[in-house]
Symmetry: C2
Subunit: 425 residues, 2 copies
Amino acid sequence: MYQSKLFTKTIREAPRDEQSINAILLERAGFIHKEMAGVYSFLPLGLRVLRKIEAIIREEMNKIAGQEISMTVLQPKRLWEETGRWSGQLGREVMYKTGHGKGEVGLGPTHEEMLTSIIKGYVQSAEDLPLYVYQIQTKFRKEPRARSGILRGREFGMKDLYSFDKSLENFKKYYQKVKKSYLTIFKECGLEAIITEASGAGFTKEYTHEFQVLADSGEDEIIYCPSHDFSQNKEIAKVKAGDQCPVCGRKLKKGKSIEVGNIFPLGTKYSEALKAFFKNKDGQEKPIIMGCYGIGTSRLLGTVVEIHHDKNGIIWPLSVAPFQVHLLALDLTKERVATKVAQVAEEIYQNLKKEGIEVLYDDRQNKSAGEKFVDADLIGVPWRLVVSERTLSQDSLEIKERSREDKEIVNIKQAVKHLKEKIKT
Amino acid sequence: MYQSKLFTKTIREAPRDEQSINAILLERAGFIHKEMAGVYSFLPLGLRVLRKIEAIIREEMNKIAGQEISMTVLQPKRLWEETGRWSGQLGREVMYKTGHGKGEVGLGPTHEEMLTSIIKGYVQSAEDLPLYVYQIQTKFRKEPRARSGILRGREFGMKDLYSFDKSLENFKKYYQKVKKSYLTIFKECGLEAIITEASGAGFTKEYTHEFQVLADSGEDEIIYCPSHDFSQNKEIAKVKAGDQCPVCGRKLKKGKSIEVGNIFPLGTKYSEALKAFFKNKDGQEKPIIMGCYGIGTSRLLGTVVEIHHDKNGIIWPLSVAPFQVHLLALDLTKERVATKVAQVAEEIYQNLKKEGIEVLYDDRQNKSAGEKFVDADLIGVPWRLVVSERTLSQDSLEIKERSREDKEIVNIKQAVKHLKEKIKT
């Protein structure tokens, strides 16, 4: 798209009320807008990234037989009373509530109750299982601390998948499948996640698993093996940094980290409370065995920024970048060459689009080369393409990767093809 | 997808607590699930339709220079106080509120305040205008009556577009552009909308415009010309049925109708209250001239059902159908032919998918032909394709349109190509 048409503009100074790198860079570059603590709108650039993250997740969820639905924010009190969570800690401290008396409802911080209630209408016998259902939807949680930008929101995007199995054995197989799927998702988003054992929160004796990304800005702390074959959340760790890894013997390390996902055996807690039973082969009624699997989509976006940035701005991995190429037309203020530069840049822009490449084209008339470079570094599109008086004098363009220092000068005629090859591989 | 894997099932009886055709058919066919009055989750089939409607709208919005964003549900009280709407009728009676004291927030029934506040940070001079910004997002409204299924939701999907112009003249041009765009959207969704004059709700002396679809189940009433060149909401109409159309002289009619969209000149109400100014050429500060343009996405889905159904179920227009083809494999209970039918059907299924056609394949083993036909009619996929013992004996398949009575027998080898041609034209 033409940058002159983009309604957002970059901001030079860091917003005074933000401490986290993700919020500072994303707000300065015009990806998000803070409405209040922990509540952020997604502007055009930010929404493009979020949609790409969602598409990566959706593809993986569909591969593991996930069926996509979209449940409501408003949650009936009745359902949450059946599981005891309305007046439990979650209902009292975390869930926003609205309306009065009989009309009182909650704003979903999670959807176990609602989905269990939906699927029980469709499950009669063992033949109706397994079922895997997910949504990518907006969650609400009263976070006492909301100082980490979009890493910890009061309103945030989440992919939540729920599994419904007829046997523990089947459940365990699927649980392992999701583990692999999650690692693929995070890798695709440019993150290396470490599978970390964590507390079962009281209703499973087994560990649950978190996906932790090492980051100085993380709110969690993990004791992990450098080979990533072992990791425990410090909250439950019985080992410490320097100990031997119980799997491979290497020395364990300690590190701050961001939880980008978690997977959770739910057993029959919800199915029993909400009477989600199936008839087994012998005609006996059995509660469905459940698991839940979450990825915060907006948090994931924030984590990518925490990991991929430098002092000048964001460095988006190609897979989730708002655009693949940032095309800069320089010297548009110089009357002598402006027309020629604009003409060549426009042609390149159209050719790139024809090749299916997503381009942000900085066609702004009144900005200096310096301002355009600074903005490009801040916004962080992976490939920068420069058309200027100087490059044109050599019938060439300048290509630079956001993540590298070196530049490449490429003949105009080869430039589009050259860039396409780099992007598609 | 394989229908045997789809977790929803059809329901024979109409739900007892529903009166509206859209809710009855959509619930029976497994498209939606009622959580409480006016609050519906979208199940796999329903979500597929909703996404198609959203894609149609998104394409048209992008064509008229709309920039997509996603604002938050939670609304700061402060902004709504600045426009006076927090304690006005909307804030008091329509907006859900949550939290206490300083932490009190609203759940967005509309987003004029929030978006005006966002864009004012990016607009300084006339050169920054016009701006057109939209989102497809979830809205919340305390509806006293919520008896029309997804036509009137307490939580519902909406596309809201907002225009920011520097002159009334420019605003009016854009307003006309949106009118055309809306008619295109509704037509693409299989609906004929009548542009209808309606009340300006106190802050514009001019009319606003509603897009009304004639339907017996509608909550609105319009006085309209059969040529659609004139229509007024009965609430403001100074003409009556039988009068002459002031445009073409034809006799006016009266009809019940569903409002599927509205467009609204906002003038400078919000820009003045929230201080969204721009400097004009003479350096004077002027308030931005605004308009807003809404389409309820879930209501639109419900309207399609109200218009396109018969006594047996839904009849989806191809453009928004959950699948394009419903492939039925019959006689799977007959041992003699089951293998052959399943094998041929599977092959057809794979070939259709290869051609990019979206297929729901009824591969269920234990359902009779009668049950499969009844389900297919209820779900309402536009093209039905039947493989059975009888068709195979003729090396053929049976093709039928949901909207027609007649069937066509087509040679197996030509079937996929034949169907593709019908679908793509």
